[in-house]
């Protein structure tokens, strides 16, 4: 079997801490990345624009959230608000004449500062109370965006994103928007993996697992949680800006409502808390499964397999989708990432049955 652990030995600490320690994993990652880069040539524009592009961007957003929810264990039910701050800041900054590259960075910092302020207020509470506090952030930010015309342009207004270029590349064609989004997703992925193997990531996990034991080895719980809120909100803010510029191209407050926050939490949970591959799989599942189910059932109905009323038909995919999420949480609480991991582990030690690590 090509995909195995035995025969892979590390002789120094640097090799032992590689991102992908097993050659087969490296090849897999390279292949997937190459396919993703070539996607505009492989996939029809319709599929690229309406499936692959949003999937990539929402995966980046889910990765930003899972840094906070999965790694640091701080529940956040207002992450769409963080993305809204990023999206609106970037549009206004670009309109004010700031170059797009710097506007992206600044919108991330604005989202991070506001997110961390709410985080600091919310950090005196844990668990369900933190959920309530972050919900308050969602509604507060929503209210401000809708009711301050200077931000949203009015209660039902739509803000068009100005034409921009990124590093001298014009961001207007579908392919260029896709590549920018892909670059951001790749950047977050590398960042997340690097966080996982350094002291920053370990201190986040320590705070999540046992905060008193973390304190006794010198981790400042408040500072660490605040850093988690700051970093995660920064990534979320930039993801929001990317979402606005690369996908929506016209922003309204409803695009960042409470239901979007819940959708993000669903992506993180279905994918698997704190997992990189889980964020991609979770975002894909939450975005694409309803579409897939709708198409499937519409196809079955058209061919006379499911003789039901049109009204029932339009709700059936949502019912199945809900059942699938409940099923996941019941039977595989660690999410899609765990299913992937089980399959990988099986091949890793095949033909034997026990993995050493």
């Amino acid at each position: 079997m090509f995909y195995r652990l035995s025969g892979t030995f590390h002789t120094n600490y640097q090799a032992d801490r590689k991102l992908w320690k097993i050659p087969a994993d490296r090849w897999l990652v390279l292949t997937v990345f190459a396919l993703a880069v070539l996607a505009p040539f492989l996939v029809s524009p319709l599929y690229l624009g309406s499936y692959v592009l949003p999937w990539i961007i929402w995966s980046a957003a889910a990765l930003s959230l899972t840094l906070l929810m999965g790694m640091a264990g701080q529940l956040h039910f207002g992450f769409a608000a963080v993305m809204a701050i990023g999206a609106y800041s970037s549009i206004h900054l670009v309109r004010a004449g700031v170059p797009f590259e710097i506007a992206l960075l600044l919108s991330g910092i604005i989202a991070a500062v506001i997110g961390a302020v709410f985080g600091a207020a919310a950090l005196r509470v844990k668990g369900l109370y933190l959920v309530m506090a972050t919900l308050a952030m969602q509604y507060l930010v929503d209210w401000v965006v809708v009711n301050v015309p200077w931000i949203s342009g009015g209660a039902h207004a739509t803000l068009r994103t100005p034409a921009v270029s990124f590093l001298f590349m014009d961001i207007s064609s579908l392919a260029s928007r896709y590549w920018l989004a892909l670059a951001w997703a790749a950047l977050i992925t590398v960042f997340y993996l690097n966080v996982k193997r350094t002291s920053f990531g370990r201190s986040l996990v320590a705070i999540r697992d046992k905060d008193f034991a973390a304190a006794v080895i010198g981790v400042d719980p408040f500072k660490t949680k605040l850093m988690a809120f700051f970093t995660s909100s920064f990534l979320g803010g930039v993801s929001g800006a990317i979402l606005a510029f690369c996908y929506y191209r016209a922003v309204t407050p409803e695009q960042f409502g409470f239901n979007v926050s819940i959708q993000l939490v669903a992506m993180v949970l279905v994918g698997g808390l704190g997992s990189v591959i889980g964020s991609y799989l979770g975002a894909g599942f939450v975005l694409l499964a309803p579409i897939f189910l709708t198409n499937l059932i519409a196809g079955l109905a058209a061919s006379g397999w499911v003789p039901v009323s049109q009204n029932f038909l339009s709700h059936l995919p949502l019912v199945i989708y809900g059942a699938m999420i409940i099923g996941f949480l019941l039977f595989e609480p660690l999410g899609l990432a765990k299913i992937y991991d089980n399959i990988r582990k099986y091949f890793l030690v095949w033909p034997f049955r026990h993995a050493r690590s």
Binding site: F191, V195, R197, T198, S199, F200
Partner: protein
């Protein structure tokens, strides 16, 4: 009691109350550099409260605690940790989401500067720090013979090994004062003997000062240079291990007076 030069930890007339309960009544203790100091007493006598006062979880209402002459009472637990106090817990407090290696690496936290940017620029920034600290961690792993379990997930290894991992995590901080809260709780005789040997090895190799809470008297006499016996939050005896355990007051506190048996 004044802090002499060779006293690492000095507790001076500590009082800690929980509501109406006085858990520590004017307890004074001085731990000398390089010694293993035992803290003994029946359940509820205030041993863990004293340790929690030292490590900052329950700061004392009265009295003064100094580490190497610097006052530490009133500081937050993480500040006391960064000043060189490491501890283990009676119920193992490891991080379940991490491997054995990462748990022990956590012990180096006070020597590392966690920072998202450093993580992002790993090859140029964080890698050097990670590898330097990894070397120290591997020394401790060798000392405590944890190499076979290094890559295991921490909640799949047996309790005796988990306690050893927790000891390794504390040792990695190169502490001035190591506080062990019942390191032998729930262990069988063989595991206890292993643990005693590891503590003695570590103390010899690293020149540690240890404050240890322990119930097993065979362990106490094997390990401790001096002990303090507490009962109901008060000191009832202090001195060299063997003599103090033979003290009639100590026997009474642990087992009871002959007439109580009737």
């Amino acid at each position: 009691m004044t802090g002499a030069r060779d006293d690492v930890l000095v507790c001076d007339n500590i009082v800690r109350r929980f509501g109406g309960v006085v858990a520590l009544k004017n307890v004074s203790v001085a731990v000398k550099r390089g010694e293993i100091f035992g803290l003994v007493g029946p359940n509820g006598s205030g041993k863990t409260t004293l340790v929690n006062a030292v490590t900052g979880f329950y700061p004392p209402q009265e009295g003064r605690i100094t580490l190497d002459g610097k006052k530490i009472n009133g500081l937050k637990p993480y500040m006391i940790a960064s000043m060189g106090v490491a501890r283990t817990f009676q119920n193992v407090a490891l991080f379940h989401g991490m491997s054995v290696l990462d748990n022990i690496l956590m012990g180096r936290h006070i020597y590392m500067k966690p920072n998202p940017l450093a993580s992002f620029f790993y090859p140029w920034w964080a890698r050097k720090e990670e590898i330097e600290n990894r070397k120290k961690v591997e020394e401790v792993i060798d000392l405590l013979q944890l190499a076979p379990a290094r890559d295991e997930h921490v909640d799949v290894i047996p309790l005796g090994l988990q306690k050893r991992v927790e000891l390794a995590r504390a040792l990695c901080a190169e502490p001035k004062l190591l506080v062990l809260d019942e390191p032998m709780a729930g262990m069988n005789q063989e595991e206890k003997e292993y643990m005693v040997r590891f503590i003695l090895d570590a103390q010899e190799a690293l020149g540690l000062t240890v404050l240890i809470i322990e119930h097993h008297m065979d362990v106490v006499t094997a390990l401790c240079d001096r002990i303090l016996v507490l009962n109901n939050g008060q000191e009832i005896a202090q001195g060299p291990a063997r003599e103090t355990i033979a003290n009639p007051l100590v026997v009474e506190a642990y087992i009871g007076k002959p007439r109580d048996a009737a």
